[in-house]
Homo-oligomer: 404 residues x 2
Amino acid sequence: MRDPYGAFCAHGPGRLAGAVDGPLMGLTFAAKDLFDIAGHITGGGNPDWLASRAPATKTAPVVQKLLDAGAALVGKTHTDELSRGIFGENAHYGTPINPKAPGRVPGGSSSGSAAAVAGELVDFALGTDTGGSVRVPASFCGIYGLRPTHGRLPFQGVLPQAPSFDTIGWLARTPELLARIANVLLGVNADQAVRARRLIVAEDAFAIAEASTRAALAPAVDHFAKLIGKCETRVLSSVPLTEWSRHQGALQGREAWTTFGEWIDNHNPRFAFEVADNFLRGMRVDDEAVKTAALFRAERRAEFARLLDPETVICLPTTPFPAPVAGQPRSRMWRLRASIITLTCIAGMTGAPQLSMPVGEVDGLPIGLSLMGEAGADQVILALALAAGNQLPHSAAAKLPPSG
Amino acid sequence: MRDPYGAFCAHGPGRLAGAVDGPLMGLTFAAKDLFDIAGHITGGGNPDWLASRAPATKTAPVVQKLLDAGAALVGKTHTDELSRGIFGENAHYGTPINPKAPGRVPGGSSSGSAAAVAGELVDFALGTDTGGSVRVPASFCGIYGLRPTHGRLPFQGVLPQAPSFDTIGWLARTPELLARIANVLLGVNADQAVRARRLIVAEDAFAIAEASTRAALAPAVDHFAKLIGKCETRVLSSVPLTEWSRHQGALQGREAWTTFGEWIDNHNPRFAFEVADNFLRGMRVDDEAVKTAALFRAERRAEFARLLDPETVICLPTTPFPAPVAGQPRSRMWRLRASIITLTCIAGMTGAPQLSMPVGEVDGLPIGLSLMGEAGADQVILALALAAGNQLPHSAAAKLPPSG
């Protein structure tokens, strides 16, 4: 298979044909190497995990649904180690090239999926999103990405990380295709969705973005404001978003340690230093911090429920800045990560659906604007993205440069 | 080169001939992969370190001295990653086989050096000892090992870890050879050393050893007591040895982070989980803990100076138990490590020389007894080991099984 962006795993299955008929007939897709494919080992981005696991006995239901709908699987794609990362830099397998911003990270952990879609190697790709792993690479690679409502799709046959956050998502180059996949996987029909009647421009989220990102996204925000008619700029929360991300860190870290701690203890696996650091932070979260974070999350969900209704949509920057230069020191990347997850934790902590759109550009680098609805309103934000459609001030970077 | 124990590095230099004449003529040796050999990269037990370094321009002075004395270098040997380990289990290159106890760890971090000597692949080998890295593998592999007085040999052309503890040491199958090497490297003559006239049996150190280890070492202790005449069983310190090792942990951890932190930050290297954990503990040591530990060390050195004189020798178990089974969970190994370093930190914190002798056996596994003198009294403990010589109740395990 042609792989100019280093997106695909060497150990994955070859091409799997889709059904001869179906709504996705003729389309190709890739799946992040967290999705089980019967007969193949799910590698999870870490060679010691790969070496210690048996081949999957069943194919993940979402993969099977896509095959049954006529799409053909082209291959499995690279991920950050055990999905613990936000930049897509994998010390074992290398970092997929960002087709829209070479020399920059692709974003992660669904790094290979995003690179394969942005590089037009497949029509769409499956990813997972625990702390931002579909939304961040969508923003950095200049493509569309959906993190549906948490729990709407069972996380079955997929390597988990932190179950109360783990969400299956997908990436594509058009909102139309995102919606077609949503139709197949979630059974929702964006054409029949209620129409958004109120837009909230999330003041606290935009405050975290760099000024150049705010400026780059302003025309698209205006477009949505006009499209909907009613627009309100306000804070999403009475509590600083940095507090949100701190508490998500405690919950996600503890859950990730619960998922992988025993395997780590038994295998003493090789991890990039930052990945080990991340797991160790999770290991050290105490019960008190978990209890406090769980209460905090319940409060935030109640606050979100008061703010939202089925006809209200929030818009916010997907990431505070475009893709950082690859290969920077970890201390620098850790600070950038802290800023990113302060935005991505909003959907994480509330379980709300979020759709990132490549509608901005900073110095030639793509940057995403997100729509977020209340939990269960996936079709509302899909319909809004579709309605904006081609009238959106698409980023020039969203077009693949001829150099590839 | 024949390597049935997996002791040697693939990337090392080939054989380097020794001078045609000299006191070590006809002998072969190996050097831990922390020693520079001109024209070759010093790999330090980590492939990302190896990949990021240039070949050494000069050969480490101790290696050159041994070559000049007529010994031939056979190859470089495996080490725990960046010498951060005590068991010799290397997740990248594998764990050298313990020739005297197959299925058990060889001990580290001078794991390959100990395996090569115990397996009779070389006559002797160079190692380094920061927190026990010569003494522990000597005990586990049933051979002799010397950690000389700290600072007596400059740590030049050797990959450092924690300079105030880093010490060049060597391993051999007889005390005679240990002494011949000491003659070449330190310029000391054990034959002319003052005779030990008082033996201290370290009560607090023996208390840490398992009962079976204490029993296995008792005949050798008796032998030394008779040889010297005057014997006293007493504690070495007014402070529990667990406090000693806690403070060494702070100092060594901080120094190791000072040595490697910038490289780690820039390269985000792959480490086994436990190695990353170890570095991160060092990274988190605060200035207050370092100050307290430095004061504690000064106090202990003063206490040691009051206890010792040139004619007094301490005996203690080298390790609290023989080599543990390889491949155990890291949480279990971490507890075993805590117990081991409570013994090895005595020489670490005081800078005293320590010589481990394979004079015991527990269930067929070798276990070492150590002699320790005051700083600078390397020749006194060498002379005592020589005097005990063949009359010592050598462990049966110290003989290589015919199965090899």
